[in-house]
């Protein structure tokens, strides 16, 4: 059906622009509502399960700030969450879904650990950059498989990235049990990397591994590139309207391939930082549920590189609070995942409702 031609005159102003206060309210309101509703509904579930809801929520929200360790742990979680969320949102800007973050993280971690083990004797000034570059490159390469299949044969990138996750489990498993295995670890884990591959702490005590600085830098670069450079402009254009972008000389498929590879590089970086900053090795299960939560972060931030770090911080608070809640109040930590999912669902719902209201008001 043809879109209605709204104006006779070449364009009466389409909509009167509302005041900045109204705009801010309209922007923030859905978030506040979604948060409140998510906590209310989860509260009902917690009560129904027979737990102390006030205690549970107090623990969730305050753990990160009561102790230095809580805060350190929050920042430590913030790093992979932010990186995986950006790894998801960058391809998302061209309408491609990178669901392979955990595979990219694991492969990146495996490569980083490998370099850290093989060249364990090198000094930190040489080894640390090598370890991180190895992680980034192998993450990019891993996503590059899916990107190549997508660009060359139009293989759906959702399928290929998800399936590559399963392959990555086997890669890590093989390396951790056959190549550089550490039988004493109790789980499938590699040997420890050399001392030169470990990131020093900053701040504290207790400090946070210096990888956080790198994550902050990467976030800033992502923001600047997407907003200020021709590459970022082309990324947005290709995502907003691929046909119009193509007609105006942008090679949409190439942009998408590069975006997916970039996403993989960020996943690989997250893996390398987990090895160098947290575990000192690659081990089974190190991907935690960073991918899932990273996607939630990216979606709650609505794909904006500016909001991803902020949302990731909020989610990291919940995540850290969750394990503490399980210890103190007995509510299963998974409850927090329910809260996060509900925030996202209510946010999406409020979009629909706000759209309806705007249409009715109009």
């Amino acid at each position: 059906m043809s879109a209605p031609v709204l104006t006779e005159e070449p364009g009466a102003p389409a909509t009167a622009s509302p005041g900045i206060g109204t705009r801010l309210l309209r922007g923030v309101l859905p978030y506040v509502l979604a948060l409140v509703l998510a906590f209310v509904v989860s509260g009902i579930v917690i009560v129904a399960l027979g737990y102390d809801v006030v205690g549970a929520y107090r623990t969730i929200l305050t753990t990160s700030f009561r102790t230095g360790f809580g805060f350190t742990e929050t920042l430590t979680k913030w790093v992979p969450l932010t990186l995986l969320a950006l790894g998801f949102t960058i391809p998302l800007a061209v309408n491609r879904f990178n669901i392979g973050g955990e595979g990219q993280l694991l492969v990146g971690a495996t490569a980083a650990a490998g370099v850290g083990i093989v060249h364990a004797d090198l000094p930190a000034a040489v080894l640390l950059p090598l370890v991180i570059v190895a992680g980034v490159l192998s993450g990019a390469l891993w996503a590059g498989i899916a990107a190549f299949l997508m660009g060359r044969f139009r293989v759906n990138e959702i399928l290929s990235t998800v399936l590559l996750n399963f392959v990555s489990f086997q890669v890590l498993d093989y390396v951790a049990t056959e190549v550089w295995s550490d039988p004493a670890a109790g789980v499938a884990a590699t040997q420890r990397v050399g001392a030169g591959a470990l990131l020093p702490d900053v701040g504290g005590p207790p400090g946070v591994h210096a990888g956080i600085l790198l994550a902050v830098l990467v976030t800033l670069v992502t923001i600047v590139v997407t907003r200020r450079t021709a590459a970022g402009f082309e990324l947005r254009a290709a995502g907003t309207n691929p046909r119009a972008a193509g007609i105006n000389g942008i090679r949409v498929e190439k942009v998408a391939v590069l975006a997916l590879i970039t996403g993989g590089a960020l996943g690989g970086l997250a893996g390398a930082l987990e090895v160098s900053g947290v575990h000192g090795r690659a081990l089974e299960g190190m991907q935690s549920n960073f991918l899932l939560i990273g996607i939630i972060v990216g979606l709650i931030a609505r794909g904006s590189a500016l909001w991803v770090p902020v949302v990731a911080f909020g989610i990291a608070i919940l995540e850290v609070g969750a394990s503490s809640m399980q210890r103190t109040v007995g509510v299963p930590a998974e409850m927090v995942l329910i809260i996060e999912a509900l925030i996202l669902i209510f946010l999406l719902l409020s979009d629909v409702i706000a759209g309806r209201l705007a249409r009715r008001a109009a």
Partner: protein, 537 residues
Amino acid sequence: MSGPAPAAPAGSAVPGSPRPLTMSGISKSFGSVRALSDADFELAPGEVHGLVGGNGAGKTTLMNVLYGLYRPDAGEVHVDGREVTIRSPRDAIGLGIGMVHQHLLQVSTYSVVENVVLGTSGGSGGLRQAARRITELSDRFGLAVDPRARTDRLSVGARQRVEILKVLYRGARVLILDEPTTNLTPQEVDALFASLREIVAEGTSVVFISHKAREVLAICGRISVMRDGRRIATVPRASTDATGLASLMVGELAGERTSEVAAALGVGEVASAAAAEEPVASTPDGPALLSVSGVVAHNDHGVAALHGLDLEVWAGEVLGVAGVAGNGQVELAEVLAGVRPVRQGSVRVGGSELAGAPTRRWLSAGVAYVPEDRHRDGILGAATVTDNLLLGAQRDRAYRRGGMIDWRRVREHARDTIDRYSIKTPGPDAPAGNLSGGNIQRLVLARAFDREPSVLVLQNPTRGLDLRSARFVYDRVRDARDRGCAVVLISEDLDELSLLADRMVVLYSGEVVGERRRGHYDAYELGRLMAGLREDA
């Protein structure tokens, strides 16, 4: 142009019986824009009722309200004297109201019968019974179509007949046709009108939406004129003429170039009027600026749509490409814009070969493209006007500073462009998709001209535009030609082509089947070429 035979206006109101349809006090706003304000409309049994007005006058919106596609903010609809609320097309169909849209909504892989019964309960007897009824209806009303043919194999004219049959099959007593002649050859228009006369003779009423005064005068018994979202007059055919109708539609005609008004409103002898206004261009000499030879290109389904096409366009010339939609126009436009791969043959601009080169190379060779579907191909709807004006030039040195886009410079340029092209927008940061069709086209043209093109390719550049915006496009096309641009104007509007083209070729089935120079344009002769009748036939 001799125009359709002036047959007696079809259908006249039968006095006494209840009105099949009255609408009153209908208002509808989209955002802060009032599309309809207190509009009314009344239909008599067995009449063809013309609904005319410039673009944005509210014709289609009013009928979309009637068909249940929009809910009115206020107003009443009565069918056969009973007040009704129409919430959806299903309600409308239940009340005997059917609509054929400008863009045909069909499942292209279904057969005609399947498309016709789609959405009905099917009835007893299945498809064979349905096919028999369709054949009967098509015989009765002269709507020739094979019920078993696959829809995507049919011409646009035939697909439109399918839509009309679909409405009749469901027993509609009110048939709404939205700009039904847009994609038809003059001959097909005549056939459509003959069918409409048969249809109203059996008591069905027809609403004929158009902005072409000439067609409305040829078929309608009464004509309602809309302007600014309300009906401003209803006149019987007998008491008006093209000029009278045109002045009702536009408001006043003072100061407008008559041939342009005529082209935009379709009121008569455009070709001769245009020819009288402008001298025939002299035959160009020297090598052509744009030369296309032996080009083969595929459509979106991988089937050859251009079969060894040759074209030459000289600098300072407007080449018109006429033809019925679906004969390779889209493919030709996209080949010339460097968007669609050239399977065979060559496209040279100023001597350098561009076939096979990426789109960016075509752009830097000076090719600018104004696509047919502005919303889909022309703009980033969700992005700002500024972004859209930058699109394609984002890597230009003029807009770079320290490896980044110099947004201050870009904004300055955008504001300046908005001024120069009179783009009506709430601001440079407003989403381009919210602009009206005319302003989107201004934006697209502004961007095209920013590149100082040497080859300009336009497809149906005034479709859906109001008179003022259409004039703006015409002026820009002439500017481009005068500046030495080679212009290719691909259009389904013979009036528009007659007005602008120095030379016209007819595209049929992916080949050029005829060429005429300015001064030798005859609508019926061109119509025969467009229908695929070779010159020697």
